[in-house]
Symmetry: C2
Subunit: 160 residues, 2 copies
C-alpha cells in the first residue's frame, strides 16, 4: 500500500474517500445490516452487487471489517466492524450534522443525524459501547443508542 503522504486527513481520504465505503459502513453501523444480502436489499442508494462485494473486500483489507461464519447457515457470512471502524462514530456524527445542515437531506433522516450529533461525546461513547457489544462480543451495555436513534427517526415521522 503506497500512500500519497503521511497527512492524517489524506490517509483517511485514501481509505474512505470514494462514493461507497462510508455508505456501506453507515449501513452496518446504523442499520445493523450484517450480511451481504441484508446490505444489498436494504441499500437506500441501491448499491450494485459487484460494488458491494468489492467494497466489503476492500474494507476487510483495510482492517475496518471482519467476516465470520453464521453458525445456522453455512453459506452466510456475517460482517463485523472492527475497533477501527467503530472509532468512526464521531466522524459519522459530524458528517451527518454537516449534511443535514447544508444539503437537501430528508427531515426524518436528519432527525437521526442531529440526535447523534447533539448527543455529543457522551452519546457517542454509549454508541461505541453498543457497537462493541454487537460486533466484538463485549458485554451488553445498559443503553441502546440504536433504539434511541430509531425513536428519534419515528418521532420525526409523526410530526413532519
Amino acid at each position: 500500500m503506497d500512500r500519497r503522504s503521511g497527512c492524517p486527513i489524506n490517509l483517511s481520504v485514501e481509505v474512505l474517500g470514494d462514493r461507497w465505503s462510508l455508505v456501506v459502513l453507515r449501513d452496518i453501523m446504523f442499520g445493523n445490516f450484517r450480511t451481504y444480502g441484508e446490505l444489498h436489499a436494504n441499500s437506500l442508494e441501491g448499491i450494485a452487487t459487484n460494488i458491494l462485494a468489492n467494497r466489503l473486500k476492500r474494507l476487510m483489507e483495510e482492517g475496518l471489517v471482519t467476516a465470520s461464519a453464521d453458525p445456522t447457515h453455512k453459506q452466510r457470512t456475517i460482517y463485523n466492524l472492527t475497533e477501527m471502524a467503530i472509532a468512526l462514530v464521531p466522524v459519522m456524527a459530524q458528517l451527518g450534522a454537516w449534511g443535514s445542515r447544508f444539503l437537501p437531506a430528508s427531515p426524518q433522516l436528519s432527525a437521526r443525524a442531529i440526535a447523534l450529533a447533539e448527543g455529543g461525546p457522551p452519546l457517542w461513547d454509549a454508541f461505541t459501547a453498543e457497537l462493541r457489544y454487537l460486533h466484538l462480543g463485549a458485554p451488553k451495555p445498559p443503553r441502546s443508542v440504536l433504539a434511541e436513534l430509531d425513536a428519534a427517526y419515528r418521532a420525526a415521522g409523526q410530526n413532519p
Copy 2:
C-alpha cells in the same frame, strides 16, 4: 443534481467522497493556500493540474468555494472558503484524529491533527472565527489557531 438518497451521510459522501476534494479543502483551510499556483506548488500529494482545476470548479458548483479577483494581479484568482466549507472544521478534526490513530501518519503532521482534535469545540470555534476573517471578511479575531497549529507542528519537529 440528482442525489442517490436523502440521507445526510450519503449526501456528504456525494459532495466530498472522492480522492481529492477534502485534500484540496484541507490545503485551503490549514495551509491557507489561496490560488491555483499555491495549491499546485504546495500539494503534499502532488495533485495533477487538471484534477486541481476540475476539483476547484466542482467545489465552486457545490457551494464550498468562491473565486474572487486579486487586485494586484489581473490574472490571479483567489479562492475563498464559504461558510459551508468552514463548517467542515469539526469533520476535519475528527477525520484527522481518526487517521492519526489508525493509519501510518507522520508524527509531525499528527501533532497538528491531534492538537486540533484535543482542542475540541472551543478551539474549533476559534478556528472558525479565524477562517471567517480570512475568507469572508469578518473582523479579525484575537486568537490565531493557524499559528497555534503551526507551533504544535514545529514543536513536534524538535522532539521527534
